[in-house]
């Protein structure tokens, strides 16, 4: 499958102009000042190393800051069957009176997989079109998984929907983000009844409230449980284990290399 991915992967856009012009343009892009500025504007994703947080850090890595750019849109062409899906979804949404750009904030093609970042208010419409349009026909929803990104301010909680088209033998992923302060995403149970338990699970573990779900209750945790365990601010818990006189700390308190 990967062979095919590489073959169809989007090629860099061809530039026109003389070699000198291209060289000049590239040189401007690579100016250390500009590159440094760009890098510093990126979000800090990680600080320190070896789990050292106290003054006992003699490695000097304690002040390390690792930055990463925000998720960027993939340029057209997306490759494989992805362009077809994007075009068809755009056409289907137009027919429903929604502009593609309004509903989809970002399209990412990564590792041979296509992801539409859907604005949450348009999720039910997008899901409906995905299922019903003859050229899309994603009739099977494989699941919903929640992901918590505490550092993405204003879009901390993500719900990720995996769709399968058996008719066309294709896969696509929808990703919807919502802020922690307002953790509401419209439910897609009306379109995909199988989302029932998946949304309950995501609610249970992340606290995302799926509006319009017929009975959004906890599913894995006990009904009277406090908190949502898969969130990053929820501790793993665990107790130290004594072994032959020494004490092994619980996993979340051990040295971390992250």
């Amino acid at each position: 499958m990967s062979d095919e991915n590489n073959k169809d992967a989007p090629q860099p856009a061809e530039t026109t102009g003389t070699d000198a012009e291209i060289e000049q343009a590239q040189a401007a892009d690579n100016l250390p000042a500009r590159a440094g500025e760009e890098r510093l504007s990126e979000q800090v994703v990680r600080t320190g190393m070896f789990g050292a947080k106290t003054t006992g850090d003699t490695s000097g890595y304690g002040r390390l800051q690792v930055r990463r750019p925000a998720i960027s849109s993939s340029p057209r062409p997306y490759g494989r069957y992805f362009d077809e899906i994007a075009d068809e979804l755009g056409r289907a949404l137009d027919g429903a009176g929604v502009a593609f750009g309004d509903a989809i904030e970002n399209v990412v093609v990564d590792r041979g997989e296509l992801t539409f970042y859907v604005r949450r208010e348009h999720l039910p419409e997008v899901a409906q079109q995905m299922r019903d349009d003859a050229k899309l026909r994603f009739e099977l929803m494989s699941g919903v998984s929640g992901v918590h990104y505490p550092d993405e301010t204003g879009r901390e909680l993500h719900a990720v929907y995996h769709l399968i088209s058996i008719t066309h033998n294709r896969r696509v992923r929808l990703e919807v983000a919502c802020p922690d302060a307002d953790p509401h995403i419209p439910s897609v149970v009306a379109t995909y009844p199988t989302a029932d338990w998946h949304e309950r699970e995501t609610y249970d573990f992340f606290g995302i409230i799926f509006d319009g779900h017929p009975h959004l209750t906890r599913i894995e945790m006990p009904d009277d449980w406090h908190g949502h365990p898969q969130r990053k601010d929820y501790p793993l818990g665990g107790i130290p284990v004594e072994y032959r006189g020494a004490t092994v700390p619980p996993p979340d308190e051990r040295r971390s290399y992250v």
Partner: protein, 443 residues
């Protein structure tokens, strides 16, 4: 034996409550009759032999007819996905193998395929490793199907099916023990390949299994395929057609028993399944009997695939772990005098000749490898349906998130659709035909 305790609950909002805790059925029946109320809500489980673990069914009955069926799960929730966020990517296999304990190798395979896609090393997995993965998954498909059929027989009261089924499954587990060292929870498939090559004894035992298994299968088929008792309990019971399966997300043998030949091994091949010659059995009965037939046929197809695997392994040499020292753990193991697998050459190298190799080994094992940021979704056709892993990395040495789409979890949603309108006795058949394993449902 205690008398049904009812008095304390007479004022409860749900009506009068009867606690049954032994052979006190006569008293309960008399009390219910006296009550005159026709609607009865019965809690089946979480401790019930026919619920495949700790599953709670809340059935509303009108006489013998089920008018509503609700499912309570979560009794076996172990937080495996949360725990995986606190271990390295390699250690993740040790956790996820324990989810659906009847399909450990599928759990590992889906996870490892997702991690490999994140790492971008899908093309660099040695061919021998892929063949071994396929062989192990097909063996696992058989052992899982044997349990599905055996426990179902037991629940219908046919203990012969149970003992025969578990005996056949035991043969597969013995083979697993020879190959991986463990009967269950193997952590055998790792990111980058598998942890150990097959030994000559493993080949011998696999051939032995290929000889014996067809007889085991035909024995059960002779017993069940045309048995009037079995047909009466399974034919046209728990009907679920393709539209129902699609809406509820049901995959695997249940979907194929509704007539749709959807199998990821054919439609979206992984681990080189496109190179094997096998069929996808389908039936169109949409009932418990068709699901049984699909499972039996799939076992026969699995035997065909395993035979091809052995043939391929004869002509495919090479490593079983990716040749990338930054990812692959030592995988040329030998059994030491203490019975544990070890890699003498590797130990000699890191302890005796190269300080750098020792540092690399130490970092790889304690710190683990870093996985580039992003997300990947890898699905395999497990014995129960589409089993997929959604792995998210932040660029670190541990999964940011690993979520499993377990087929048992999804298929169990079809309980109400298959049970409502039938009789209580058919609930057992319906749930068993969905083949849920609560370890996978609750994770």
């Amino acid at each position: 034996m205690t008398a049904p305790t009812t008095d304390a609950y007479d004022g409860a909002a749900e009506g009068r409550v009867f606690n049954v805790s032994g052979n006190d059925w006569d008293e309960v029946v008399a009390a219910v009759r006296e009550e005159g109320e026709e609607k009865l809500v019965v809690n089946m489980g979480p401790q019930h032999p026919s619920t495949h673990g700790v599953l709670r069914l809340i059935l509303t009955l009108d006489g013998e007819t089920v008018t509503d069926a609700r499912v309570g799960i979560g009794y076996l929730h172990t937080g495996i996905e949360k725990n995986m966020e606190y271990r390295t990517w390699t250690q993740g296999t040790t956790f996820c193998t324990r989810m659906d304990y009847l399909t450990p190798l599928f759990n590992e395979a889906s996870y490892c395929l997702a991690v490999e896609r994140l790492l971008g090393i899908e093309d660099r997995i040695p061919e021998r490793a892929s063949i071994i993965r396929v062989m192990m998954m097909e063996l696992n498909r058989m052992s899982s199907h044997w349990v599905a059929n055996a426990t179902f027989g037991n629940e219908l009261g046919a203990t012969t099916i149970m003992t025969n089924g578990f005996r056949a499954r035991e043969r597969v587990l013995d083979l697993f023990e020879v190959i991986t060292g463990l009967r269950m929870n193997h952590a055998y498939i790792r990111p980058g390949g598998v942890i150990q090559d097959l030994t000559p004894l493993a080949f011998e035992k696999t051939r032995e299994l290929l000889k014996e298994m067809p007889r085991e299968i035909s024995d059960i088929r002779k017993l069940l395929d045309e048995s009037p008792l079995y047909l009466a309990r399974t034919k046209d019971v728990a009907y679920l057609d393709v539209a129902g399966c699609m809406a509820l997300g049901v995959t695997g043998p249940v979907l194929r028993a509704a007539g749709l030949p959807y199998d990821l091994r054919k439609t979206q091949p992984y681990c080189g399944y496109e190179n094997y010659d096998f069929d996808i059995p389908t039936y169109d009965g949409c009932d418990v009997y068709s699901r049984y037939r699909v499972r039996m046929d799939e076992m026969e197809e699995s035997l065909k695939i395993i035979e091809q695997c052995l043939e391929k392994l004869q002509h495919t040499d090479g490593p079983v772990m990716i040749e990338d020292a930054k990812i692959g753990w030592p995988a040329r193991l030998a059994i030491g005098p203490d019975g544990m697998g070890n890699s003498p050459d590797h130990i000699k190298h890191i302890m005796g000749t190269s300080m750098e190799a020792l540092i690399h080994h130490f970092k790889l094992v304690t710190e683990g490898f870093r996985v580039p940021p992003g997300q990947a979704y890898a699905a395999v056709e497990s014995a129960k349906g589409e089993l997929a892993c959604h792995a998210v990395s932040d660029g670190g040495t541990r999964p940011w998130r690993a979520h499993f789409r377990d087929p048992s979890f999804v298929n169990l949603q079809a309980t109400a659709a298959t049970c409502v309108g039938g009789s209580v006795a058919d609930v057992v058949a319906a749930v068993a035909s969905l083949d849920p394993v609560i370890g996978g449902v609750d994770r």
